[in-house]
Amino acid sequence: MEVKMKKFLFLSLILVMAVTLFASTTITIKGSDTLVRLGQRWAEEYMKNNPDVIIQVSGGGSGTGIAALLNGATDICEASRDMKEKEYKLAREKGIEPYRVAVALDGIAVFLNEKNPVDKLTFLELKDIYTGVITNWKEVGGNDAQIILYGRENNSGTYVFFKEHVLDEEDFYEYTQTLPGTAAVVNAVSKDENGLGYGGIAWATGVKFAAVSKTAEEEAVLPTTESVSSGEYPISRDLYWFFNGKPTGELKNLLNWTLSPEGQKLAAEIDYVPLSAERAKENMIK
């Protein structure tokens, strides 16, 4: 092609790109690695039905998302934990009004290697294991081998939740190896016969779940969509979307769509636990 023709095509390509960018709304979603798969799936589906909206989803941990919201670097923050007092205070100082909506539920599963003879653990056993009081599998009915602990980094909402609810705010045993994401934890436990890990249910492949009971007398429950939804499974939590102020316009449409039966069904399809119908309706913005 002659040079002039090339220049023309190049310029028109730039023009088309610029026009599409100007003609559309861009929504950024950042935050929890637990939620990122769901966020991406929702974004894909929403963009299919609304071609003039561009949604960019990325992970990095709940802490990263919240920091981004506070810095105005994102429209929506996905978080698998609530914001801390310090963070709420900092937000108000920066003129941000965090608006929190629960968009799905999640159970924190405890992962065991498939070859591990242990099947169930009580809350107290889990706490003792992760604080270093119990260090050998034989103390909980398994083989005579050291328990290798895997966990998340301290910027993870999963880490914070587990610490609050299972460890009662005690420190993790310093021999806990930290990995950058639930998928990495699952991978590590699947390769380590004596490994123990925790993380969102939606990620488990190649490992088995431990049935968890609150006390030694109660029945141990496996984490499934039903047991988490009904509250039977003891380690469950809300997954949140945080906005800066009550969402309007395209953000409001997106939120209401995710809370609609269609959006919640999509969540269930990829192994997240949907909210109950009443709660979903309650959370929608009128």
């Binding site: 941990g61 920091a67 301290n154 420190d171 310093e174 021999y175 930290t178 590590a188 380590d192």
Partner: protein, 319 residues
């Protein structure tokens, strides 16, 4: 007479050209100064702010602390605990352990390859070996980290029957792979810079190639090889991605090389994204960053300066 190929340039153009180039050179220097200033500025509250010093004064970061009444004083890194703990010692130990393993693995291999390549290899072999080893330097560190996380860790665990799959040895070997090209390049350069007159003298006195290398060339190049090892050490200390993925990131104090470690660089990478801006945790992370910066800067500067002096000496130049 032939026409002059280079027309005499105007004085102004020459002057501007010179100034422009020197500005570019200085901007790199200024950049480094600015980076250091920014990092150090964020770390200053460790020395000045009483609120920060309550949890993380220099004293608290270095020595054992009694965090809970009645329990033994200990070193611990738990910055997000209800009682925040900021001991730097476990992190320091982790950094050194991983770096030492990397050097023990990389130095013999790198120097050995350099000796082979400069003294014993045929010209053709050298033309193949040199670029291939330097290709190791082109592998992104995240790929090396991924390799050691998925493949190397399993291999090590099966061969040695280890308790911990992700440990210092795992990270150290992968770090070593990243460091080998640095040591190789500098050491090889040092050995080829040794003037042939030394080799000729040895041969004239009846030495065989082996003796020439180890009694004449190697000692002469030793300062250069040492500089290469020092530069490699600097790289091993600062490397982040490999240790983040392969070392297990557990901040423990132990002499066992098969235990997990947590390094300075991995700590910053893993935790900085979350911290509340301006908090004690934030300040301590920047303090660690300053430490790393200063340490690697001194190592690299020292290595470079030593190298320059050696080169001048060997090539017979005087200042």
């Amino acid at each position: 007479m032939q026409e002059l190929k280079f027309k005499p340039k105007s004085k102004i153009r020459e002057f501007l050209g010179e100034k422009f180039i020197s500005v570019s050179a200085f901007s790199a220097l200024i950049g480094i100064l600015l980076i250091f200033t920014f990092i150090f500025k964020e770390a200053i509250p460790v020395f000045t702010d009483p609120e920060v010093q309550e949890e993380a004064s220099l004293d608290k970061m270095v020595f054992k602390q009694e965090y809970y009444e009645g329990r033994d004083p200990k070193w611990a890194w738990q910055p997000t605990s209800t009682v925040p703990k900021f001991s730097l010692y476990p992190l320091f130990l982790g950094t050194i352990k991983a770096a030492i393993i990397a050097m023990l693995f990389a130095a013999p291999l790198g120097v050995g390859a350099a000796i082979y390549s400069s003294e014993f290899a045929s010209r053709r072999m050298r033309e193949i070996i040199k670029p291939v080893i330097e290709l190791l330097a082109a592998i992104p560190s995240v790929v090396l980290g991924f390799f050691s996380l998925i493949v190397l860790a399993t291999v090590l665990q099966n061969v040695f029957g280890l308790t911990f799959r992700l440990n210092a040895m795992n990270a150290g070997i992968a770090l070593g792979l990243a460091v080998i090209p640095i040591i190789f390049t500098v050491a090889e350069d040092a050995m080829t810079s040794v003037p042939n007159s030394l080799r000729d003298a040895a041969i004239a006195l009846g030495a065989n190639p082996w003796q020439v290398s180890f009694t004449m060339v190697f000692p002469a190049a030793l300062p250069g090889i040492a500089a290469g090892i020092v530069l490699g050490f600097g790289r091993a200390v600062g490397e982040t991605m490999i240790v983040l993925m392969a070392s297990g990131n557990a901040a423990i104090i132990s002499g066992d090389f098969f235990d997990s470690v947590r390094t300075f660089s991995a700590t910053i990478a893993a935790e900085l994204a979350e911290v509340v801006f301006g908090s004690t945790h934030y300040t301590v992370l920047f303090f660690i960053g300053t430490l790393l910066f200063v340490f690697t800067f001194i190592i690299n500067l020292g290595g470079e300066m030593a190298l320059n002096r050696i080169k001048e000496k060997l090539q017979g130049r005087t200042e």
